[in-house]
């Protein structure tokens, strides 16, 4: 019988990037084929080892097979793609209608994202829920910023005045919050990236632009001290650009779900992220120089590709798939 650690099967498993259930079904099917073909060859008088080698060779290149399966199973329907793009479309509408400053609407948007992410997580993590999950990560990201500001302010107080400006419990709570929420986000990110790290990259797609947009407002805060007319016009231009950028992100999300090719998905994400940052810089005409924007664009690509760090090694993927296969065969 075929040894479970057949190199060909291992190569196929590590190239599939599909959920474990799908991967084990595919592996089972391919192993069954190799067994049948090898048996026919043995019946013709060929040795078992030679029969297994020939049966495996006749299947073709493991990379090509894995790619074929990935393209079939990862390509999603228009409905799936639209649901995945919906949070970006809603953000675009919020900016287009200039309602992103309304607390009720922002709370409703974040609440919807949270509910969809939690329900999706419990229902097996359909991939269209991952962009929604990205907006849920914004909540801890913003609160990290506030917590780290409190910690930084305290450190500055100690260095300059020799005393903490705020009460000690605030610093303890801030540090604990940062540690716990980082652990939660990293846990979630590693689960999302487990089967296909590109999905985790899709999840964080809007974050580099949102970070840039936030920095822009932080840098341009004197705008809000000027006359109402001037503020209204400037805010409208800012909002229109943000609306267009979120539509671009929505379009990129739809294309991502509709194409099956991994290389195309990777290129799409790698191009979209810095492009929207550069577009924002060109339109906003902020005081940030081109070198800083270039550095920011490169950093945003690095952030987008960082989920690859959570990708399991081929050995881990193979081990998990073969364990599940053994469980299936015993049941």
């Amino acid at each position: 019988m075929i040894p479970k650690s057949n190199r060909f099967i291992e190569n196929v498993i590590s190239g599939l990037h599909l959920d474990p259930v799908q991967s084990t079904e595919i592996v089972d099917e391919l192993q069954a084929h190799i067994e049948d073909r090898a048996q026919d060859l043995v019946d013709q008088g060929i040795s078992v080892d030679q029969a297994l080698r020939q049966a495996t060779q006749e299947l073709g290149e493991s990379d090509a097979i894995a790619k074929g399966f990935y393209e079939v199973h990862s390509r999603r329907s228009w409905r799936h793609a639209f649901l995945g793009a919906l949070p970006h479309i809603l953000l675009s509408l919020m900016f287009a209608l200039h309602v992103w400053t309304e607390p009720v609407i922002v709370a409703a948007m974040l609440g919807t994202a949270l509910v969809i992410s939690v329900l999706g997580w419990r229902a097996g993590r359909p991939t269209w829920t991952f962009p929604w999950l990205g907006y849920c990560i914004l909540i801890p990201l913003i609160s990290w910023g506030l917590a780290m500001s409190a910690v930084g302010y305290g450190a500055w107080g100690v260095l300059t005045r020799g005393s903490l400006p705020l009460d000690i419990p605030i610093y303890i709570v801030s540090l604990a919050y940062i540690a716990i929420s980082m652990w939660v986000v990293i846990k979630i990110a590693s689960r999302v990236a487990r089967n296909d790290w590109l999905m985790a990259s899709l999840t964080v797609l809007p974050i580099p632009f949102l970070a840039y947009w936030f920095l822009y407002f932080y840098n341009q805060q004197e705008l809000f001290n000027q006359s109402a007319n001037r503020i209204g016009l400037t805010l409208q231009e800012i909002d229109s650009t943000a609306a267009i950028i979120f539509l671009i992100i929505a379009a990129a999300t739809i294309i991502f779900f509709r194409v099956g090719r991994r290389a195309v998905r990777l290129a799409l994400l790698a191009i979209t992220t810095p492009s929207v940052v550069v577009l924002a810089w060109l339109v906003y005409k902020s005081g940030i120089g081109p070198l800083a924007v270039f550095a920011f664009a490169l950093t945003s690509i690095a952030v987008l590709m960082s989920p690859a760090l959570f990708d399991r090694t081929p050995a881990q993927i193979v081990r998990t798939a073969l364990e599940k296969l053994q469980i299936r065969r015993k049941s």
């Binding site: 595919i26 069954a32 073909r37 073709g60 290149e61 090509a64 097979i65 393209e71 079939v72």
Partner: protein
């Protein structure tokens, strides 16, 4: 040979559905049946067969299910659906029109002048 490969690539769906409309089969059984019915002319690159079967299943032209084969082994069978039968009918109709058109163009050249 290259031309045959390209023709086979474009006809994969028709071939698979044509074989499965007769009876459900699993992958290796399909490969052998196709080779036998075509007298050895059509030999599928087996690695491309399974993604093609999965694609047809995803498009609801086939249903895949695990069952026990005659020799007691668990195999994944594929059975054509009603949608698959309609799809096959329209593809065969298109194929007949296409091959007739090719024959009409090619046939005069095959006839030697007396």
């Amino acid at each position: 040979m290259l031309y045959r490969k390209e023709l086979l690539k474009g006809s994969t769906e028709t071939i698979l559905l044509s074989v499965l409309v007769v009876q459900p089969m699993y992958g290796y059984q399909l490969v052998k049946d196709i080779s036998k019915k075509s007298s050895g002319y059509l030999n599928f690159k087996e690695g491309t067969l399974y993604p093609a079967l999965h694609r047809l299943e995803k498009e609801k032209y086939l249903i895949g299910y695990w069952d026990t084969s005659k020799n007691g082994q668990k195999r994944r069978y594929y059975k054509i659906t009603t949608l698959g039968e309609s799809r096959l009918a329209s593809m065969l109709s298109e194929w007949n029109e296409f091959s007739q058109a090719i024959n009409l163009i090619a046939q005069p050249k095959l006839v030697k002048p007396s």
